[in-house]
Amino acid sequence: MEKILLRNIENPESAHIGEYMKAGGFRSLPKALEMERKDIIEEVKKAGLRGRGGAGFPVAMKWTFASADPKFPKYLLCNADEGEPGTFKDRPILEKIPHLLIEGMAISGYALSAEYGYIYLRGEYPAAKDILDRAIGQAYEKNFLGDNILGKGIRFHLSVHQGAGAYICGEETALIESLEGDKGQPRIKPPFPVNVGVFAKPTVVNNVETLSNLPYIVEVGGEAYSKIGSPDCPGPKIYCVSGHVEKPGVYELPMGTNLKDIIFTHCGGIKGGKKLKAVIPGGISTPVLPPDKIDCPMDFVNMPKHGSMLGSGAVIVMDETVCLVKVCYRALKFFEHESCGKCTPCREGTGWLRKILGRIENGEGEAGDVDLLLSVSSNILGKTFCPLGDGAASVVQNFIKHFRQEFEVHISSKTCPVQGLNA
């Protein structure tokens, strides 16, 4: 497939507005400004665009809610807090083709009657901060942003806010708290951000990749867009593949490309011809799959049917040399570290799980520890304030579901059969 989102990515100067425009950029914005706001939302609806952050929520629906709220001003936030382990799909957009995002936000801002936009950028992307700032400056110079965009009397201002290194700030209400200057912790919903968001105003939070689809939708129309990829959730999708494959990296493919094809066709198969042991298909919080379960279309609809989720489309491939107890331990260490501490099960449970996993990996596990892991994780699952705790619990449950034997061997042999924790 021709690249749509990443079409100019090979150009070393792609981040410059001139190069972006040469490649056809900023043609959708003037077109959009000629359209009625509701018609843009209608095109998005026809396109069937679903949020690319992980949950796959229909974008047009979110936008309709925010548009229907009579309060002003409204805000458009771009969630660029790409923190899910294994995920680096937004990064090329932010660093290589920032104007795609800027154009997408300007179009979305217009469609939503939002006059202010913020890009909430993860703190660990310092390069992207400079690139975005520069790009936004260029867009202002060309009058693609500002008080009177392209002389049409449309106002949209955009700036970048850097996070301080919290995974939870990828959760939209925590992101809003953080943007407001408070501690990044999720808020009680309802009210939802579309009604009471940042500064208590209607707010739309969309992912980088999601917003970057807007110029193309406006360019070709929702109808044509909806023909790409899976009919239930169409469009191009950026997959990022890491781990033991020959060609790890970022791949723009039609939504619904088979996971097996991604690994074995696009990425050249398992590195060094080793045996595949496990795949995490959509970032660390999506359920792990054993090799016999990876023949599935990677989209929001089909992945759950195959026992996992699309998540952010971050495929982590692990070969036979990997100790899965250690991976599980490492994942829980991440969740423990990133738990915001607001609710009890996540705050206390993630650490406890990590401790049990640590002792199993270290050969200090005891009979019953696997059941203890299952019991503790089921005390977390479904009881937490936000999905972070669910993610942590489901990682443990799914690793045990598919690889229980490996855990039991660690305990019975009092050692890691694959490698020591500190190896």
Binding site: C340, P345, C346
Partner: protein, 861 residues
């Protein structure tokens, strides 16, 4: 109407509330650690999970709003399992030190584990350890017991508004810090203690001295400190107050307290309390029997009356004493002695200010409900920091700001600085001009309402134009316009007046201007008072010109009513005011002074002069609970029962009558009983057997207290004008004389700090409060200190025409650039020893604030 089914029970609700509240209204208690009725919703602990039909997963009852027809179950096996799981999580890092923990017995976590389990621990690893912290003077923290419910943070942030604590770090490393140690702005209200469900934050005062179930006696009473009159509960073991707690849903304060109220009770039963009468013999005060002391007093009073007349005697009443004490005191002076020479420290501002305000707006115009402030759309504050003088009232102003109301301050009000006030910075010399400009601007913007021609005449006469506002008032034109626009546009404004206004140069004139502002915006006036019963003592007639119920002595008609009731004759001559008493003592015409529950030698400006005057009398009687500065020079000292040791009533600044109750037993006599004993010897029998009996007489005699009973007061909400008849005469002449301004612009001025933590006699003997604020200090702006090369902690000498004080320096950015702040709370270091005064021609209040002061480095090390 919303109908909800909870555990099979139909619950009908007027409006949508949370499932938790709905259940509570039906008597179904859903367990929770993080939810609290005073606090914002949080949803963190997850204990309140419930099953809701047609909802996919368990829902938290504290966050879910009810909708019509929902079916909820709060106790099922599945729910119990979840709760046990949550409690297990909480316990993995919670020390099981219940045998040692003071909270045991009233700990929510303990109670919940008892109900839901778990009974054993599956956690094998090390628990998180946090050492006990005694860094704080009044709190003890055991943060390893913390369950991260964040109630304390939400209390501190969202209710108290101090924002002294926050959750630091995240996840399992989350902890709550810092409390105080001066690092942040802890106000030591201890409201975090109220809401902490476990033993993480507790009062240090009673540490390890009781078990909650040993607090067998609980007495609901009224705080002894300020005029807000918060309801509090004294919990007692073995006749010692172990702690003071508020009661949610009760009183003006509804569960909130300030540092004084919560931690200031240790004066009760203090070792320095007076226990026996003292008589001066051969120059020294020596213990004497009651009989001896009382016959001495009666004999001397009679002797003076016989040889110099009744007007050679005077009495100073007490804003710390009950209405009953004060009523008996003035009756004693009017009837047994025969003089109207009765006054109190209300003369330092409150009495004059109230009289002035009532003269314009009618009696009772300052009797406005404190919680109403939170619902005002704007609050103007002049003359002091309400969050320090009347802290719980201050919280209502903060609540008003939080709800979007405008807070407007004349001068810098430290306690409101985080509440986006519209501030008109003001120095004492520009305050009058500024207030005049505000009145003029409001007159232009609002027009005259036309309901008070006398006042309007005065307002029309003002010819200040806000044109050169920057020069004359030192404020920016745009700030001024915004300030007056907001005021002019508000529909439910309130005007809060602190004593600082009337105690500064041109105080009376400024009060007129404040009243003019209030008139133009049609506001409600709140007159602050730092004494618990200042309003009550005035209502009891402890004033030289007023009889009980605020009826003027000068009207024969009123006198007659009391003469009938009291069966005697009331002198028609208005008595001496507090300051006239001092002058009369100086010139020898006042021979005897009876001081009840007051310390004029310390609490009046130019205290050396007051001391010399009092030494000049032939008879100085001091009746108090401690040996005060005044007691030390007295001829006879009579020990009285104090707060928590007696029954009675207080009248707060809203003129709400409230019951003061006896919480501990102590040998001794009520103030009224001592007076009655003396009265008997002087030939006027006072046959009262209880405070209630005295109140019954008050309710017969005083027209505003008519038909009130203790029973009724105990029910609460006995609010002015009760069933009585306030005086609603047409306003007479409104005085607007301007006093002379002392000091000059550009000079350093001595001003009073009215700190949150002290009140004088009581707080000085409350160890917790002296630990928080241990010594007298001078506060200065960093620039001022810099100009004199003074540094924090160094000693500074403050000299005025009356003498000097040497104090450690505290640098404080909130102090005005021309001001030096000193308190009048510490023995031997009272600001009043170097502060002189002149009396305002309008209010009769001493103009204390703003005296010129020279500063230099202190000479002592």
């Amino acid at each position: 109407m919303i109908a909800v089914n909870i555990n099979g029970k139909e619950v009908k609700l007027e409006k949508a509330v949370t499932v938790l509240e709905a259940a509570k209204s039906a008597g179904i208690i859903i367990p929770t650690l993080c939810s609290h009725v005073l606090l914002e919703k949080y949803g963190g602990c997850r204990l309140c999970v419930v099953e809701v039909e047609k909802m996919p997963r368990l829902q938290t009852a504290c966050t879910l709003m009810v909708t019509d027809g929902i079916v909820v179950r709060t106790e099922t096996d599945a729910i119990a399992d979840v709760r046990r799981g949550i409690l297990e999580f909480l316990l993995i890092n919670h020390p099981l030190d219940c045998p040692y923990c003071d909270k045991a017995g009233e700990c929510t976590l303990q109670d919940l584990v008892e109900k839901y389990g778990p009974t054993t621990s599956r956690f094998r690893e090390e628990k998180r350890k946090v050492p006990e912290s005694l860094e704080d003077p009044v709190l003890v923290r055991n943060m390893e017991r913390c369950v991260m419910c964040t109630r304390c943070v939400r209390m501190c942030d969202g209710v108290q508004g101090a924002s002294a604590i926050a959750v630091i770090s995240r996840g399992g490393h989350s902890h709550i810090e810092p409390f105080s140690g001066g690092k942040f702005n802890c106000e030591y209200c201890g409201n975090c203690v109220t809401v902490c469900p476990v033993g993480a934050i507790m009062s240090r005062l009673h540490r390890h001295s009781y078990r909650p179930w040993q607090l067998v006696s609980e007495t609901e009473t009224i705080c002894p400190y300020c005029g807000v009159g918060c309801t509090l509960v004294a919990q007692v073991r073995d006749d010692v107050i172990k702690r003071v707690v508020p009661r949610i849903g009760t009183g003006v304060n509804n569960g909130l307290l300030c540092s004084r109220g919560r931690f200031g009770y240790e004066f009760v039963g203090h070792e320095e309390r007076l226990t026996t009468p003292l008589l001066r013999k051969n120059g020294d005060l020596e213990p004497a029997s009651w009989d001896e002391a009382i016959s001495f007093v009666a004999g001397k009073l009679k002797e003076i009356k016989d040889s110099h007349g009744a007007d050679a005697l005077a009495g100073i009443a007490s804003p710390r004493c009950t209405n009953e004490d004060n009523y008996v005191f003035q009756k004693f002076f009017r009837m047994a002695i025969g003089t109207n020479n009765i006054d109190s420290t209300a003369r330092l501002g409150f009495a004059g200010a109230q009289k002035y305000i009532e003269n314009i707006f009618g009696q009772g115009s300052t009797a406005n409900l404190i919680p109403g402030l939170a619902n005002a759309d704007s609050v103007v504050v002049v003359g002091g920091d309400p969050t320090a003088i009347n802290p719980v009232l201050g919280l209502q102003i903060r609540a008003c700001a939080r709800k979007g109301g405008a807070v407007l301050t004349v001068g810098h009000v430290k306690g409101l600085r985080y509440f986006t006030p519209l501030e008109m910075p003001s120095s004492p010399h520009m305050e009058t001009a500024l207030l005049e400009c505000i009145v003029s601007a409001l007159r232009e913007k609002k027009g005259l309402p036309g309901s008070n021609s006398v006042l309007e005449g005065k307002i029309k006469d003002l010819n200040s134009s806000p044109d050169d506002i920057e020069k004359t008032c030192g404020v920016q034109e745009k700030d001024f316009s915004r300030f007056t626009d907001v005021l002019a546009g508000s529909s439910t404004p309130a005007v809060v007046i602190g004593k600082g206004l009337v105690q500064s140069a041109e105080g009376g004139y400024k009060l007129f201007l404040a009243c003019a502002i209030n008139y133009l915006i049609n506001g409600r006036i709140y007159l602050l008072t730092e004494r618990a019963n200042e309003q009550g003592l005035l209502d009891m007639g402890c004033a030289p010109d007023l009889l009980p119920g605020g009826r003027p002595v000068s009207y024969a008609e009123f006198r007659k009513r009391y003469e009938t009731a009291w069966k005697g004759e009331i002198s028609e001559k208005s008595g001496l005011t507090l300051f006239e008493m001092i002058e009369a003592a100086e010139n020898g015409s006042l021979k005897g002074l009876y001081v009840m529950g007051e310390n004029p030698v310390f609490n009046m400006p130019n205290s050396n002069r007051v001391e010399n005057a009092l030494r000049n009398t032939d008879l100085l009687i001091v009746q108090d609970i401690f040996l005060t500065e005044t007691g030390k020079i007295a001829d006879v000292v009579l020990p009285a029962l104090g707060w928590a040791e007696k029954e009675g009533t207080f009248t707060n600044m809203e003129r709400r009558l409230q019951r003061l109750r006896k919480a501990v037993r102590r040998d001794g006599k009520d103030d009224w009983k001592i007076i009655a004993g003396i009265s008997d010897l002087l030939g006027m029998r006072m046959n009262y057997t209880s405070a209630e009996e005295i109140f019954a007489e008050i309710s017969r005699v005083s027209p505003i207290h008519r038909d009130l009973t203790y029973e009724e007061i105990e029910k609460g909400n006995v609010i002015y004008p009760y069933k009585g008849e306030p005086l609603r005469g047409t306003p007479g002449e409104i005085m607007t004389h301007r006093s002379e301004v002392s000091g000059e612009a550009g000079k350093l001025l001595l001003r009073l700090e009215r700190p949150l933590f002290h009140s004088g006699t009581l707080s000085r003997h409350a160890d917790a409060l002296t630990n928080i604020y241990p010594e007298a200090v001078a506060r200065m702006h960093p620039d001022t200190a810099g100009r004199f090369s003074l540094s924090e902690g160094g000693r500074v000498r403050l000299s005025t025409s009356l003498g000097f004080l040497e104090l450690p320096l505290v640098i404080d950015e909130s102090v005005g650039i021309s001001d030096v702040l000193v308190t009048n709370n510490f023995e031997g270091k009272g600001a009043f020893s170097v502060m002189d005064y002149t009396l305002d021609p309008v209010t009769g209040a001493p103009m204390i604030e703003g005296m010129e002061v020279q500063i230099e480095k202190g000479v002592t090390a």
